[in-house]
Amino acid sequence: MFVDSETIRFLWPELILVLCAAWIYLGGTFRGSRRWWVAFALAAYLLALGVILGLEGPATTSGDRGGLASGPILVDQLGMICRCFAILVGILLTLLMSKSTRHDLGSEYQGTLMLLVVGLMLVARANDLVLLFVSLELISVPTYVLLFLGRRDRGTSEATLKYFLLSILSSAMLLYGMSFLYGLTGTTSLRGIQAAVSTQPSVAALSFASLGISPDALIYLSLVFLVAGLGFRLAAVPFHFYAPDVFQGVTHANAALLSVVPKVAGLLAFTRLVILGFPQAASQAWEILLVLSILTMTLGNVCALWQQNLRRLLAYSSIAHAGYILIGITVALADSQRAGDSQGGVAAALVYVVVYAVAALGSFAVLAYLGSEQNEVHGVDELAGLARTRPFAATALSICMFSLAGLPPLAGFWGKLVLFLGAVQTSSGGLTVQVMQWFMILAIAGAINAAIGAAYYLRVIATMFFRAPAKTLDAEGGDGAAVVMLVCASLVVAIGLFPGIALNLARKAEASLRAPVSLAAQDPDRSQPRPVEHAWHAPEPPRTNL
C-alpha cells in the first residue's frame, strides 16, 4: 500500500506535533529553561488545534455525515471531536506538569507528553489494526517514561515497573486477539473486517468456508483477548489491580494522566474495534461486558469507601468510572444486534468519559496545587479545614468531586443520566425477556453504585468544610496547576449548565461511526468520492506458485 499525499494532508496536525516534540527534545539539551519549553509546547498545541479546525473542519462537516477513508486513517466526526479533546487534555497536562517536574528535565517531559497526545489523536482515527496498535503503544511507551521522570524514588520506580510489566502483558493480549481477527478476515482494515465478518463474504472468509472452518469459534476467542487487552487500559475488573498501587506511587500530575489518557484511548479502541468489528459475536460480547461492568463499578466503589490515601481513593474511583463507561459500550453492543434506532450507547460513553476526564483532571490539579515538591498531599485528613485556609482550591475540588459523584446540576449528573437512560431504554425495548431483565439489573446496579460513590466523595468534601484545619498546606504547585484547576471546575459547571452541546456533539460522533465511508481521492481523475468497498486491501486470491 502506498501512502499518498492525501493521507499525509490529513495527518498534518499530528506531524506538526511530532516535529515539535523532536525539536523540544533536541532544543532541551541547549536551553534548559522549563518556562520556555512549556510556552513552546502550548503554542504547538494551539497551532495543531488551529490546523485541525481550519483544514479539516470543512472537510468532515460538509456533505453527508459519513467520513473519508484515506489509507490507514479514517476522517470523520468522531475522530475530529476526539482529537480536539486530546489536544485539550494535552494543554491541561502541560500546564499541570509545568512545575511538578525537575527543572533540568522540563523539556524531556514536555516532548514525551506531546508524543503521547499524538498517540491519542491517532487512536481516534485509526482505520487499521496495525495503526491502532502502534498508536496505542505510542500512548503506553511515553507513559512509562513520564511515570519514571516524575519522581525518582523507590516507590515511583516500583510503580513504574509494575505499570510497565502489566501494560506490555495487556498489549500482548491485544495483539493475540488482533492476530485471530486478521487470520479470519485476511485484512487489517477495520471497516474491511467489519464487512468480512458480517455480510459480505470476502475472499478469505470464502476460503475458510471451503476448508470447513467455522469462523465463529475463533471470533469469540479474539473477542475475549481484545476485551482483556483493552480492559487493562480502561482499568476494568479483573484487569484493574495495578491501578491503586501505581496511582499511589506516582505524582499527582502523572496520576491525572493515568486516569484520563488510557481511558479515552481504551474507549475509542472499544468503539472502533469491538462494537463495529463483532456484529456476529455481539450477543456474547454484551454478556461479557455487562458482567464486567457490574463487577467493575461495585468493586471500585466499595473498595474506595475505606481509602485514606487520596490518590488510592481516586484510583478506585477511576476503576468505578470505567464500570460506568462499560455500561455505554454494553448498550451499544446490544443495539448492534437489531435494526432500528440507536439507544445512544456510544454517545453516552463518550460524554461520560469527557465529563469524567475533566473532573478527574481538576481533582488531581487541586491536589497538585496544594502540595509542593517536598510535601505532597497524601491523606484525606490533610485536607481538613481547607475551606477556611484555601477557599478557592476547596471550592474547585468540591465542584469536581460533586460532578464525579453525579450530583445535579453538574456535568457528572448528565453523564450518568444518559448512560442509565440508555440501559433502561434497552431493557424496555429489549429483544427477549432475559435481555430485558439483564439490562434492568445493569441500570439498578448503576444507580446503587452512584449512591455508594457519593458516600466517599462527600466524605472528602465534608473533611474540607466541616473539620478544623490541622495545618496550612504549602500550595506551591505553581500557576499552571491553579489554571488547570480553574479551567476544569468551570468546564464542569459549563457542561452541567449546557449539557445539550456536549450531547449533540457526541450524537454526531456516534452517527458518523455507523455512517458509510467514502474513499478519499487518490489522484485527480478519481477525485469523486466513491464507496469504500474497493478500498480495503482485500486479499488477493492465494497464488499457487510464487
Partner: protein, 205 residues
C-alpha cells in the same frame, strides 16, 4: 530401511516438538532460578519454531529463531547478568499466587482449547493430504520477501513510477535495527552507570 521410509515422520516430528515445547514450558514454570528459566525458555521457543517449520510457515519459524531465541533471550540473559542481585536470581512464588495463577492459567487454557475444538477441520484428521490448501502457508512468505527487498505481493504492478517506490522493506528494517542497537548500547550504559536505577532503565527500553 523400508520401515523407516514408511513411518509417518510428520507426526513423529510433531509429537517430538510439541512435547519439547510443553515440557520446557513447564520447566520454566517450576524452576526458581532466573538463568535456568531463561535457558529453558530458549529451548521451549526453539521447539515451537520447529512446529512452525512443520506447518510450512518458514518465515515465521525463522523469525521465531532469530528474534526470540537469538535476540530477546540473549538480551534477557545479558539483562540478568548486568543487573544481577542475589534476591532476583532465585525467585520463589508464594502459594497464594500459585492458586491465582492456576485459576487464570486454566481459564485461558479452557478458552483456547474450547475454541480450537470448535473448528471441525482441526479436530478430525484429513486423509487427503493433497486437498489441504496452502493458502495460509503463503501468507507470510511475501512479507519475508518484502523484507529482503522483493515485493512478490505486487507483481501485477506495471506503472514504472509506482514500481520505483516499491523498494521493499529493507531500508526501514535496517533503520529500525540500527535504532534498536543504539537503544541497547544506551541501556547497557545506563545500567552500568547507576546501579540502583538499573532495573527501571531496563524496563524503560
Amino acid at each position: 530401511m523400508m520401515t523407516l521410509a514408511g513411518m509417518d515422520w510428520h507426526a513423529i516430528y510433531f509429537w517430538l516438538f510439541a512435547l519439547l515445547t510443553c515440557g520446557f514450558a513447564l520447566a520454566v514454570l517450576f524452576s526458581a532460578n532466573v538463568v535456568r528459566m531463561a535457558f529453558y525458555l530458549v529451548l521451549c521457543l526453539g521447539a515451537s519454531a520447529g512446529l512452525f517449520f512443520l506447518t510450512g510457515a518458514e518465515f515465521v519459524a525463522a523469525m521465531q529463531l532469530m528474534i526470540y531465541v537469538g535476540g530477546t533471550l540473549v538480551l534477557l540473559v545479558f539483562g540478568v547478568m548486568l543487573t544481577a542481585h542475589s534476591r532476583f536470581v532465585s525467585l520463589r512464588t508464594p502459594s497464594g499466587e500459585w492458586i491465582l495463577a492456576l485459576i487464570a492459567g486454566s481459564a485461558l487454557l479452557a478458552l483456547l482449547l474450547s475454541a480450537a475444538l470448535k473448528v471441525p477441520d482441526w479436530v478430525k484428521a484429513n486423509p487427503d493430504r493433497a486437498a489441504i490448501s496452502a493458502a495460509d502457508v503463503e501468507a507470510t512468505t511475501p512479507i519475508g520477501m518484502g523484507f529482503a527487498g522483493v515485493r512478490v505481493d505486487k507483481l501485477s504492478q506495471t506503472d514504472p513510477q509506482l514500481l520505483g517506490g516499491m523498494s521493499g522493506y529493507l531500508l526501514p528494517f535496517l533503520i529500525v535495527s540500527i535504532h534498536l542497537l543504539v537503544v541497547l548500547i544506551g541501556a547497557a550504559y545506563m545500567a552500568r552507570a547507576k546501579r540502583r536505577a538499573a532495573a527501571v532503565d531496563e524496563g524503560a527500553v
